[in-house]
Symmetry: C2
Subunit: 363 residues, 2 copies
């Protein structure tokens, strides 16, 4: 991220604090409004093609002791973040929580990590600046990329130029916490294959799928970190690469696809920054369990509940998903992506993926 | 791993199958004995300085239908592994489980993943060959390294020479699944600092701790993967680097230290391959919670139980650990490594680590 961006993030934060000042001056009780972050308050934005927060708001106001304390914490946090940006440093959410113990005003100290996490999210929403631009690092690290991509990463120790096949070991290129420090130099990939499990990621790399099909294999590592979603979106937007998502065939994995494609309810304010609405789901589809006669496990009660809750989730209200989820509820079965190995170790790269990518119009 | 090693692993496996053949020929009921894998059957081996299995054994014998089925599965698995080595391929434990569905004899198919996992462990123990040398990949990926180390990794796509500071991004060098494919070319590091959490790993990298103190920062990422423990041991044994382990100050984190230093009960047969008995614990020590007045949380019931169980664990029966664990039970408190941020973001690199490393005789 450039010095200009850092400066801008800092100004946005200071503007926030200035609003409280203005409210005081006008004789108003200081307050801050943020969108309500629940499933009922996310809606589809036709312009950006992602789900964003609706109109419902909740207000933090100094008209109660509790509200006043929240605003006090916000002001202390803004001061810390502005200083951090000034000094070009960064910190984790957890460090912020502990650091608050050193603040002079005890009322401003956080009583739990949830409280400081939520406040930082509120500040993201109200200021329109992302956590990464506040230089707040996640605890979770991003995952890896393997494929024909040459990039330049701006590190604190200078620039690094890395080719994500030729300059890395079998583990691939480790995505940094803030992928906006990356510039794409050259890319011979035709599409992105984002893969849930490490076992499948390694299978694809061993079978040379990235080389044979000019694919960028992005390891999601379960529920993907923000860094992983961000770089996927940038690869799509800036290089025009189609994004395909390959997960297990169960409701928890559909949520992984959902977080890549539509963003999450908790961070719908970041959908335009993190979500790739054009991302397509490869599988494992419930239909694949039948078509390829895959080894499966019975759905548990919590699987059934999760599927039913997805039918109610606006992000999954498409003909495709309704059909697949209802089929799965009928079947009463789920399958993992590695169950394709029951047809042999090369079935996934020789047959399954080429057939699916062809059907999806990617190949 | 070299072609010779692959050939040797293959022969060890075939020897195992040959034993059953010999037993048949001698008119014996085929059987296989493996050490009992419980806490009561691990003991300290003075030669290698690690904990290994004791003399208790359990026998899988074909004198019952259940036992015969176990041996049948073992033979099918041996055949699969021998073929895999022949073709220089690899697979995950999960793939093996699913692949068994394609075996002609239904009795040989695994009924659960636990069953196939346990069988592969039995084969490791009986053959003396590690899972990595069978070319079985873990699901869990290894973590990352940052520091003054230049290495050569033998990948399926040829050799890669990588410097773990100069040729990697801020994410560091991703440890491959089998670190025995790595050759160390050159190392300017004075010691290894193995770190539990991503947040702390990033703090150390941001503060340039690896550069200032010539440290190799190995990210453990919670309970470390086998690959992470293996490369740590190799760095210690081959380059003579002292290993220090830096975790949260709670019983679960002491187990992370224990798995680096002493190996785990479940894989005591691999201690000589994975464990670094000379590894030292930096902290967070219960004594640090008092000395540095760290923010803490009260011990939960399960924390107390875990601490008490560690007092019974032969791996923790040293004066140092007994004193620390009893102190913690008295205090009734635990602290995370990032709680050092309550003294400022640089406290860990300017004060805490230098003081501890000095006291431990590493600096």
């Amino acid at each position: 991220m450039s010095a200009d961006d850092t400066q801008e993030a800092r100004e946005q934060l200071i503007d926030l604090a200035a609003q409280f000042y203005d409210q005081f001056e006008l004789g108003e009780i200081p307050h801050m409004s943020v969108p309500t972050r629940t499933k009922n308050n996310i809606e589809y934005d036709e312009d950006s093609d992602v789900w964003v927060y609706g109109d419902r708001e909740s207000t933090r106001s100094a008209n109660s002791v509790q509200g006043a304390r929240k605003l006090l914490k916000a002001v202390y946090t803004i001061e810390f973040l502005a200083e951090q940006l000034e000094e070009d440093r960064s910190s984790t959410l957890r460090e912020l929580y502990y650091l608050s113990e050193s603040w002079d005003n005890e009322e401003a100290q956080f009583s739990s990590q949830d409280e400081s996490n939520n406040l930082v999210e509120d500040l993201e929403i109200v200021s329109g600046v992302t956590r990464e631009d506040f230089h707040m690092r996640p605890e979770e690290s991003g995952a890896t990329i393997m494929g024909p991509l040459h990039l330049r990463e701006q590190t604190r120790r200078g620039e690094r130029e890395i080719h994500c096949q030729e300059d890395v070991g079998e583990g691939g290129y480790q995505i940094p916490n803030n992928p906006d420090t990356i510039e794409f130099l050259d890319c011979d990939a035709d599409f992105i294959l984002a893969v849930e499990t490490g076992g499948m990621r390694d299978r694809l790399v061993e079978n040379g799928f990235d080389e044979e099909y000019d694919a960028l294999i992005v390891h999601l590592k379960g529920q993907p970190a923000r860094a992983t979603r961000r770089i996927t979106k940038r690869l799509h937007d800036e290089l025009g690469l189609p994004v395909t998502v390959f997960t297990d065939g169960d409701p928890w994995s559909y949520r992984i696809y959902g977080s890549v494609a539509y963003g999450s309810i908790k961070s719908a304010h970041l959908s335009e920054y993190l979500a790739t609405p054009e991302a397509d789901f490869i599988g494992i589809q419930p239909a694949d369990i039948v078509e390829y006669d895959l080894p499966s496990d019975p759905l548990s009660d919590s699987d059934v509940n999760a599927l039913e809750s997805e039918l109610e989730d606006p992000r999954f209200q498409t003909d495709y998903w309704e059909e697949q989820i209802e089929l799965q509820l009928d079947l009463g079965k789920k399958s993992e992506q590695q169950s394709l190995a029951s047809r042999g170790l090369d079935f996934v790269t020789d047959t399954y993926l080429p057939e699916r990518l062809d059907a999806m119009g990617v190949l």
